[in-house]
Amino acid sequence: MTALAPDFAEPLEAWRVWRVVGCHGELSLASVMRRTVWPAGEPLRAECLVPRAFGWLRRRPQHDAPEEACDCGIYAADLEEASRYLYDSLPDALARVVGQVSLWGVVVECERGLRASRAYPGSLYVSRGTSRDPDAVDDLAAGLERYGVPVEVLTDDRPTLARLLEALS
C-alpha cells in the first residue's frame, strides 16, 4: 500500500481568540466555546465534543476529529472573523487574548475558517481592554510566556487591533 503524500509540509497559520484562566496556580489558555484548556509545550489534540441528540439510541461510533460531516475540530479563522469573540463578556476568565495559531494534522477548510486535528499557539496579543484587571496585563503576559511563543501587550485596545488588521491586510 502506498501512503498518500501530505498536501502541506508546513503548518497552516490562522487566528483565534482564547480565554485566559488560572489553572493549578498557572495561567493557561482555554477555548472560548468549550472548557478545553490548551497545554503548554505540547500540541492540543482535537476530539469530537459535539453533543449528539439521542446518541445513546443511535450508538454512533466516535470518530477522529475533525470530520467534514461533523462540526468538530480546533477552530481558527482570519483575524477579522476571530476578533469578533475578543470583546465578549468575561464571566469565567481573567482575560481574552487574540493570537496566531498553527494548525496541522487533518485540516478541514471551511467557507470562513479552518478546523484542525492539532494546534499550538503561534503568537499572543494581550490587551488592556479585554482584561478583567487592566493594570495586570503585564503579569498576564508574563504568565503566558510559558507557552514559549511571542507575547505582546497592546498599549491600546481597539485602535491597536485595527492597526494590526490594517498591517496584515
Binding site: F8, V106, V107, R146
Partner: protein, 42 residues
C-alpha cells in the same frame, strides 16, 4: 466560531512540530496519597 460549510480536507504534516522548545509544560499534578486500608480489629 461560525466558519461556514466545509470545502476541502487537507493532510498537513510539518517536518518539524510547531511547538517551541522553550515552552514550559505544566507541572504534573501529584496524585493524592491513598489512605492505608483499615483492617478491622479482631
Amino acid at each position: 466560531m461560525k466558519i461556514g460549510k466545509p470545502q476541502r480536507t487537507y493532510r498537513v504534516e510539518p517536518i518539524e512540530t510547531p511547538v517551541p522548545r522553550r515552552a514550559r509544560p505544566s507541572e504534573p499534578i501529584a496524585p493524592k496519597p491513598r489512605e492505608p486500608a483499615r483492617v478491622p480489629a479482631r
